[in-house]
Point group: D2
Chain length 346, copies 4
């Protein structure tokens, strides 16, 4: 039985970790960390867990935690994980960090986009970017995994095969993404009130969103060049789900079948990536509650562009589900253990 601790267990991503790990036969949650609710019963914060989870919330003591668990999930604001991690801790436990602290290899870019000083740059090189479908082998042996962001998971994987195979002009890539509101977190902020979000759509962080350099770095590795893209997130009135609509110019004239073959080359054996049939486009409702990424695409002969679309549940494949997928790899389990979550519809 793997002993797991969660720091930040009362945010939406942390709560989703609790939901998933509760159904994972090889894991036992030993620590429900939540600074805001110390000593309060977890099931009073998330009443869906009444009679399922009996524990109370604990403080964020990573050192103490490291001596009690095999793996720590940090589902916390940027900067916290980097401020707590140490060689001693990593020598005793594995860490899967759901924040952005170890996602970017260039600490300068991190500090520029996140406006905070990185407190543990010495671990950046070691950290493995936990996009299982791309870095599976590295994840298996990692001590410290940087769990990808929600927008980035969806955006990168949707374009990855074409980037890798050099089929698209990377500098024409434009990603227009739409997210449900759970991605904004559980903080009591006016813009996230029901009446402010409901019956509305807006773009935000235009040409400035922090997931931009993460996408650029990873798709840059895939395509073998330094790239600059446009990434525009939008907030839409639903709880869960991200849809990324991606536009790029094709480098040469290709058929739907040829593109499909490229997707299949990379994802045919990926349980959690489903490449859809011709003229079928992903919708967030079909992946809600599950760890799937659904991908569809259309070639537009008139403009010589390809429109790629990907849909995930931001809290599962975009956060907690992918974290568990990483954990499974790190502990030699079946990669899909605990993740046989059939999408819930309606």
């Amino acid at each position: 039985m793997i002993k797991a601790g969660i720091i930040g267990a009362t945010g939406y991503a942390g709560a989703e970790l609790v939901r998933i790990l509760t159904g994972h036969k090889d894991v036992e949650i030993k620590w429900y960390g939540s600074r805001s609710y110390i000593d309060q019963k977890y099931a009073e914060v998330y009443r869906n867990m009444f009679q399922i989870v009996d524990e109370v919330c604990m403080d964020d003591n990573m050192e103490q935690l490291a001596s009690q668990v095999d793996v720590i999930f940090t589902a916390t604001p940027q900067g916290l994980c980097a401020s707590l991690v140490s060689e001693e801790i990593l020598s005793r436990t594995k860490i899967i960090d759901l924040s952005a602290d170890f996602r970017l290899k260039d600490v300068g870019i991190y500090e520029e986009w996140y406006k905070i000083e990185h407190k543990a740059p010495q671990f950046i090189d070691e950290a493995v970017y936990g996009l299982c479908e791309v870095n599976r082998e590295a994840v298996r042996s990692a001590r410290l995994v940087a769990n990808p962001g929600c927008y980035t998971t969806c955006s990168i994987l949707t374009a990855y095969p074409l980037a890798k195979e050099g089929m698209i002009d990377m500098n024409t890539l434009i990603i227009d993404a739409k997210s449900g509101t759970s991605g904004a977190g559980r903080g009591a902020k006016l813009p996230n009130l029901y009446c402010e979000v409901n019956e509305n759509i807006k773009a935000y962080g235009v040409a400035a969103h922090r997931h931009t350099p993460e996408i650029e770095e990873q798709l840059g590795y895939a395509s073998g060049e330094k790239i600059a893209i446009n990434f525009t997130p939008h907030l839409i009135p639903m709880n869960r789900g991200i849809l990324a609509t991606e536009y790029a110019s094709l480098k040469k004239d290709v058929s739907w079948e040829e593109v499909k073959a490229v997707y299949d080359k990379y994802y045919r054996n990926e349980k959690f990536v489903r490449v859809l049939d011709r003229d079928v486009y992903p919708e967030t409702r079909w992946v809600e509650g599950s760890n799937y990424l659904d991908i569809g695409f259309k070639i537009d002969r008139r403009t010589n562009r390809i429109i790629m679309m990907g849909a995930i549940d931001n809290l599962v494949k975009g956060a907690a589900g992918q974290a568990v997928q990483n954990m499974n790899l790190m502990f030699g389990l079946d990669e899909s253990e605990g993740l046989d979550l059939v999408p819930v519809f309606p």
Copy 2:
């Protein structure tokens, strides 16, 4: 491995059956019946099932089905199950009927409220009303189970202990219920369009809803008297969930603890009924996707009434989940097999 067939597999309740049975380790779905989509791939109708369910939809041939499966679920409009069932079929397979055909013991009341002739009244006596928490033993040995309605499951169980113990004046009982829109089914009807339901609440079937006699019959059994109640359903803009707010006059002065003790007497060992703590009231979000019924109550000294509240997911405890719970009992399995569904929030 239990072989199961579903007639009406492409309605919302049928689809939820598919979702739940797909995760049930002892069941294999052999027949996805759907008159509207014969020969079409099930996963093209419900794309969440892409790469999970490969089968195509079949016609509603109950005789043929009876020779192939151990249990048939009918998630169909009223009248269909009664028109298809026969002694021969029941001698070969078990039936769990999610329609209202066998819920009411008085065929006259059925025909009065449903405005259709009952085609198989000879099986009404035999049919067991599948409210597991009340009729568990009878369900175990049943060939034909009438799976309770969504509103009724929630309404009955919320008041049952107090009715049974004679604590409330049954003829003062008023049930004001609110349901998400999946309860209205997947038919393409104007009143169920997004823009008609969204940003709206309405009552419907006022003093005329068909679930009324079902509640009256069952709570009448509990209280040992013939009762007449008011039941008012409302449609609210959400996918899943029913909340029943029930009002009744208390027969004598009782404390919160005394009422709680009565609830505990009946539900302490019931896995799927959670009686909440003092001053905590049920909310549909805390049971969404799960088979739980959450119950809370408040005594109002000023009016000498008790306000009881119950919340379920109408598609799970109110339909497919309860059907599987019944199936588990009928086949001697652990009652919660396949139903360890942690509520999904948000």
Copy 3:
């Protein structure tokens, strides 16, 4: 031109006042009071007002305001209006208070239910309860109007004619009300976050909501007796709208036509109260954005109860619209001036 000042102009009710008064040909808003946004442009807080309202937000200085305007609207938390009002202010300007400070005639009940000391009990007697359809004449000559609450407006007017005519047993009255989320205000509180409200329904303030004594007092006046009722509010996932479903035992056997005649007696000439046809029930979508109250009812012979239903837009007839209706009366204008708001659907 009537000069108006608003204290609390950046709450939802205050903003709705701005919207309505902006379209009122006889009114000019001179003061956009908002403690939280002093010196900030109003249109930066409510961007729908960009290029419509150019003013900045001001402090809550009622004395200064009294010297500049003909009428002050206070759309503020309980207690504020009572703490600011004085004889000198009332001698110079009229006040329409959208808070509860002057709604209850019994200061003891106010202090018991609101848990605050009343700072200006000397004005309670003078204050007129601004339910125009009931107290029209008194409103015309009032200096201080207590604008009714949202739930109360809907609940009282829906039952008023039957209470007044003695047709129902007042102590059997049960009001089950459902409200959109704008009624919860614009405060940045966790329970009002999008993901907490969306896909959920809950009861709250069960047997304890502050609108209870207000309803009891007013319907007590109507029926000529002291009454105690049950009032249960529920929060539902939509922006605007209240539906009240009200149950009461009929004192004698009456027909639909007889009840309709009673409603017509009181409301036939009321522009803003629409009594619906037989078997038509109110829905909040049909009054959204308007000052209408829609009423429907059904008699249940089986239980001898009548089910009355009323629907309003909580921000209009339940707050700002009714306040303007009161203002029109106080200033001798056509009662519907500025309130010819056609309901917006969808």
Copy 4:
């Protein structure tokens, strides 16, 4: 008093026309045409109109109508207006067609994208594309106005000044648009059911949506070249609103102020186009219920692209409001008569 007739008065756009014209002081609706509801009271179809509209629905007899009214609005499916219009009709009345029949000047493109034969190509040349801000003078003298589509109004006006001034490379233009569900109409179709739309986002008509050639034609006129763009619409769970996010490469290095000056040049005196301040982006909630188009933009130095965003209420500026704006011009009224609709929030 202008006499108006509406063909298709019971669709969402038709109903919005009724709402707006009901508040227009110079117009009287004489004909509520609706094939589906002939002889039924209009207020039974749209109950918001109870006690506001007393008329019954009429058939689609354009000839009869032409003899009775000064202007006919056709809010009908593609093809109907073209099949009914004639020289005789146009000699007696003006027509504002909300369908696509007369929007495209090239009948071949119309027939290719709409898959129907055009029944009245002889009027295509005469028809004026009713985008008031662009074609104001031509509209004034038109007999037949082609009211622009919802997506197109928003998409074209958002990019128009930059296209006209040659600031962007037109063939890099990508428009990613998101629409509320009222745009899908009031037909009882499965994909538009509440549970299918709620908690979901999807792209549709990818590289194939019929509004594409309309945008290309109009922006082609503006830029003086033939262009091909990508236009991708998405359906999101809200009633009203369209947000268009548009990407294009800048032809030269320009500052925010320079771009703002270009927008101001075209829109400074346009009442219904609001160009927002720096770093403010449009949101559909701020225009809901009104005739405004809000525009914001951001220059991305990293990619040398400009991201332009526009938001409208699809039923107002995208349909009925713009139709009334056109009518005002055609009849020599103040262009904003009846359109002083303050956006409704929340």
